[in-house]
């Protein structure tokens, strides 16, 4: 099963704009690098698209695909270009084929749904979105789109029930098109003008690839493993899971539970729990600086993104208006020397979204301080 998306992405979801093209979701969700390895021309194509030069963008894309006809990224772009050119049938054909070749990718399903919804084929849109969510249960854009599709379908059902004709009053579909696959090699896409107001918000789902270490069979070759995190298996008695500790007195319970453990480990566990809670607290109060300070210099950014770009993105996502609450529960620590794997339930709550997901942080001890080296869902 595919892992859930990390909540940072969910937190960063944009309000959907009326424009079909506004809902950029940039970045490739797979942990696959091979089909997207030669994405050199993609920034140029994106630039052309951004400038509205669709024929040129199409031409470049065709050229790009000529040497690698199977390339998901290029085909995805082509589907987008057709969409923008008002060629929905061609776009549907491309996205449909992509769902067949890469059934684990949610983005083509989502975009198929957007196109179907535009044609008022809400049942097909629903099926496509349900597929997107099947592959990515926490795929927030697909969820939101699906919510809209359900509402449309409900409205159609009500029309039949009550012999109404609300077709003429029905608002234009507001489903969000996803503009880009998330790719390890894909450069961070420039925000479109329409999306400038919420720049690159949905750009990347950090750590998603890391969270899906075993998805080999049906997909193209796995990435070079840069993002695949190995979960340290629990190996020592000392690694009994801790009870969830309270923020204000994190160490109180630990000594009882870990009475037989070495004092150093006891302290380590308490420190780790404290670090995780501090991290969540910083996030909750939108203290970006403090939040980022929990990430080790060696932090494996999602998709191998540049640290700076990743930090900017996080800052943008966290620093949004509205209340934010991140809570952790059921913290379980597996300790191995200077490395700790912490699993817990993360309760995320913002004005627009509530979610509860399993999360894993890998922390490393550096200079007596526990810092995050990997972050993933599941």
């Amino acid at each position: 099963m595919r892992p859930r998306l990390p909540t940072p992405l969910l937190a960063g979801l944009p309000a959907r704009l009326p424009s079909l093209l506004s809902g950029l979701l940039l970045g490739l969700s797979l942990g696959l690098s091979a089909p997207f390895a030669h994405a050199d021309n993609l920034p140029e194509i994106q630039r052309l698209m951004k400038q509205g030069q669709m024929p040129q963008a199409l031409e470049k894309t065709e050229a790009y695909l000529a040497s690698r006809p199977k390339d998901a990224q290029g085909r995805f772009m082509k589907g987008l270009i057709f969409t923008e050119m008002g060629r929905p049938a061609d776009a549907i054909a491309i996205f449909t084929k992509l769902t067949e070749d890469y059934p684990e990718l949610p983005e083509p399903y989502n975009n198929l749904a957007v196109l179907y919804a535009q044609q008022k084929q809400y049942d097909k849109a629903r099926t496509a979105l349900e597929m997107a969510i099947r592959t990515h249960p926490s795929y927030a854009i697909a969820h939101e789109n699906l919510g809209d599709v359900y509402a449309k379908l409900a409205s159609q059902a009500y029309d039949k029930a009550l012999q109404l004709d609300s077709a003429n009053t029905g608002a234009q579909s507001k489903l969000s098109l996803i503009r880009e696959l998330i790719s390890t090699s894909a450069p961070k896409a420039p925000a479109r003008p329409a999306a400038a107001a919420r720049p690159a918000t949905e750009t990347v789902r950090p750590a998603t690839p890391a969270a899906e270490p075993a998805k080999p069979a049906s997909t193209p070759p796995a990435p070079a493993a840069a993002t695949v995190a190995t979960v340290t298996p629990p190996a020592r008695p000392a690694e009994k899971p801790l009870e969830p500790a309270r923020v204000d007195k994190p160490a109180e319970k630990a000594p009882e539970k870990a009475a037989e453990q070495k004092p150093a480990d006891q302290n380590a566990e308490a420190d780790i729990v404290k670090a995780v809670q501090g991290w969540a607290a910083a996030w909750s109060r939108k203290d970006v600086k403090a939040y980022l300070a929990y990430y080790a210099p060696a932090f494996q950014t999602p998709n191998g993104q540049a640290r700076k770009a990743w930090e900017n993105e996080r800052a943008q996502r966290i620093d949004k208006p509205g209340k934010l609450q991140v809570g952790v529960e059921d913290i379980k620590v597996s300790l191995d020397g200077d490395k700790a794997t912490v699993k817990f339930r993360q309760h995320y709550s913002s004005a627009s979204l509530k979610s509860s997901t399993g999360k894993t942080l890998v922390l490393i001890r550096s200079g007596g301080k526990w810092m995050i080296q990997q972050e993933r869902v599941g």
Binding site: Y150, A157, A161
Partner: protein, 406 residues
């Protein structure tokens, strides 16, 4: 929990008390329901509701979609589907959450949901029969009994092998008059209450789509109705337009309307000119013992009347007639005088009654409609006729208040 709101609404709606004595919701054993096999609309609705109650909304939606595949024009099904879809994106408060929906249509569908589920859960009680079906004549294969309050039509078979005991066959959801029952005047949008029968079968081709797959007029106003000053005409049993699976419980101008598939099933059992259609506000159910007792008492009364006629003693004969009796413009007095004169010339009279039927009227009066073939012979006159009498309860006994050729 927001999602159970719909279930609660439906449960509350359906908890309305059953007026059927001893109705445990268990169908009588051995009965068959042509509309309520596992794939009938009501069993499916009940299963959908059960899923909603358990908060298994995904299953509920799947089953609703299955329901709509089978009954694509089932508006109530679409309403529930709308709710189940909407529940995925926002809390729903009640059955039917369509924004800006016309309230009357919405409440129509809610009422339909309530009566359908009630009808499904409260089948006729086993070993009870509608009081009205005292006796069917041998060639009447079936009888129809309508309960307007429950929006239900019951089909009974004349079980001649069991002494003419009515045997439950099927029941169907029906629509009746917009303004209810007890029709009095033309255009009052009410359904008549009384004992009727199917008088003809109208060709659907001539009728147009509105009447669906068929139409069976009944004989409203009957003799009793006219005597009561009731008027109007054109009360039919008929089907629904092709884009409509069923109409709301109260929607017709007085007709009794069935889903086309139900009408088709019913039509196979209707005999033109013969099949009784008894329309009630609310069916009264009698235990078989009570039913038998009432039937025997009336049967005996009819035999007394017949033998008193044969006795040629006009006073014995006339004691069976109500003080309010009238026939063909004659009062009791005129009628009595004539009988006394006629009887004086008789040396002998023989009266045979065959093909008796006795149906109790569901209206306010204690009234029984008796129909039979009468073979009258005497020293100076032989006569065969089909006669109908209305017997009324008067001073603790049954008396004839009307009689005439049927």
């Amino acid at each position: 929990m927001r999602r159970t709101a719909l279930a609660i609404v439906l449960m509350v709606a359906c908890a309305g008390g059953s007026a059927i004595p001893g109705a445990g919701g268990r169908p009588p054993s051995g009965a068959t329901y042509s509309d309520s096999g596992p794939a009938g609309p009501e069993p499916m609705l009940a299963r959908i509701l059960a899923e909603i109650e358990k908060n298994r909304l995904d299953n509920a939606l799947l089953q609703t979609e299955a329901l709509l595949r089978q009954y694509p024009n089932f508006r109530l099904g679409h309403l529930i589907k709308g709710d189940l879809l909407l529940a995925r994106s926002q809390p729903i408060a009640t059955l039917g959450n369509a924004a800006n929906a016309p309230q009357d249509r919405l409440s129509d569908l809610r009422e339909e949901a309530v009566v359908r589920l009630h009808g499904y859960r409260h089948k006729p009680p086993a070993n009870h029969v509608p009081r009205y079906l005292l006796q069917m004549q041998p060639d009447q294969k079936h009888a129809v009994v309508v309960d307007t309050r429950k929006s239900r039509l019951y089909l009974y078979e004349n079980d001649t092998g069991a002494g003419g005991r009515p045997r439950f066959v099927a029941d169907y959801y029906v629509t009746h008059g917009k303004l209810g029952a007890e029709k009095m005047r033309e255009g009052d949008k009410k359904t008549p209450v009384g004992v009727y029968h199917v008088t003809s079968s109208l060709s659907t081709k001539k009728l147009g789509d509105f009447y669906g797959s068929g139409a069976f007029p009944i004989n409203y106003p009957n003799e009793w109705d006219r005597r009561q000053g009731r008027n109007g005409h054109g009360i039919w049993l008929h089907g629904t337009p092709s884009d409509t699976f069923s109409r709301p419980p109260k929607a017709s101008d007085g007709c009794v309307v069935l889903a086309n598939s139900d009408l088709d099933a019913l039509a196979r059992n209707l005999q033109v000119g013969l099949t009784p259609v008894i329309i009630s506000n609310e069916v009264e159910w009698l235990s078989l013992d009570d039913w038998q007792r009432e039937r025997t008492a009336l049967d005996r009364k009819l035999d007394e009347w017949r033998s008193d006629w044969e006795s040629r003693d006009p006073e014995r004969f006339l004691r069976h007639y109500s003080k309010d009796f009238s026939t063909r413009g004659q009062t009791l007095e005129q009628f009595a005088r004539q009988k006394r004169e006629v009887n004086a010339s008789k040396q002998w009279i023989r009266v045979r009654l065959e093909n008796r039927s006795m149906f109790r009227d569901p209206g306010k009066d204690e009234l029984v409609v008796v129909t039979f073939d009468q073979e009258y012979s005497s020293n100076n006159l032989n006569n065969r006729m089909k006669k109908r009498q209305y017997w009324i309860r008067e001073d603790g006994t049954w008396k004839i208040i009307y009689e005439g050729a049927a």
